[in-house]
């Protein structure tokens, strides 16, 4: 079945550590890719998105993601996390021809001060 996989369910890091959250998808063809973040008690909001062009995408708050087509991956990175990055992170895919987003199960990030 076609899916979006986020293998890390819960990641715990100390402040200033580097972050990489994995996202793999199984849809073929052209895809639009997104990372959403949900801070505690808040709504889902867009971190960054990839439609085409440079596969390295920069988003808000120092986050970036790299689209590797051959690996069907769109991993999220941040060189140095802060306590305020504690949140749940969702990868989402809009496959070619589809009207909506398909989400992964999310990764909970806890940053320890």
């Amino acid at each position: 079945a076609q899916s979006v996989s986020q293998h890390n369910h819960h990641v715990i890091l100390s402040e200033a550590a580097s972050l990489e959250l994995g996202c793999n998808y199984s849809y073929g063809g052209t895809v639009n890719l997104f990372w959403y973040v949900q801070y505690p008690g808040q709504h889902l909001q867009l971190l960054l998105k990839y439609f085409s062009g440079d596969p390295l995408v920069k988003g808000i708050k120092g986050f970036e993601a790299e689209f590797i087509k051959s690996k069907f991956s769109f991993n999220l990175r941040k060189p140095s996390v802060q306590w305020s990055d504690t949140a749940e992170y969702f990868c989402a895919v809009n496959p070619s021809g589809a009207n909506n987003l398909f989400f992964g199960t999310g990764t909970r990030l806890t940053v320890i001060p």
Binding site: H43, L44, Q45, L46, F51, F90, N94, A98, N99, L101
Partner: protein, 114 residues
């Protein structure tokens, strides 16, 4: 810019009761989505509207769930009768376009069916 508004924030009902959720999208957004997010899972699309027409309702359990978007603005999602497995957060989102357009989400309604 005002965000997507949803109400209520929380609802507790007994199984077999009915419940309705309301969503007011961002002004001017033609596309409206209802997602269901069960604990430990990512959001799953229930229904998508383009203006007041349904684009995709393939994942909507139509025997118990219904949704409408009158006049292409506000939308309501109803469950009747509710089952225990309907306990979830119901998210409304809207976007200017569709097919990959950035979706803006509301805070959701947390439904608990007991």
């Amino acid at each position: 810019e005002a965000g997507v508004a949803q109400s209520p924030r929380y609802k507790i009902i007994e199984k077999r009761q009915s419940v309705a959720f309301w969503c007011n999208p961002i002004s001017g957004h033609a596309t409206l989505y209802w997602y269901q997010q069960i604990l430990g899972q990512g959001p799953k699309l229930l229904i998508q509207f383009q203006n007041n027409g349904v684009v995709d309702d393939s994942q909507l359990p139509k025997d118990r769930f219904s949704a409408e978007r009158l006049k292409g603005v506000d939308s309501t999602l109803k469950i009747q009768p509710a089952k225990l497995e309907d306990s979830a957060v119901y998210l409304c989102a809207s976007s200017l376009g569709w097919r990959g357009a950035e979706a803006f989400f509301g805070q959701g309604t947390r439904l608990t069916v007991v």
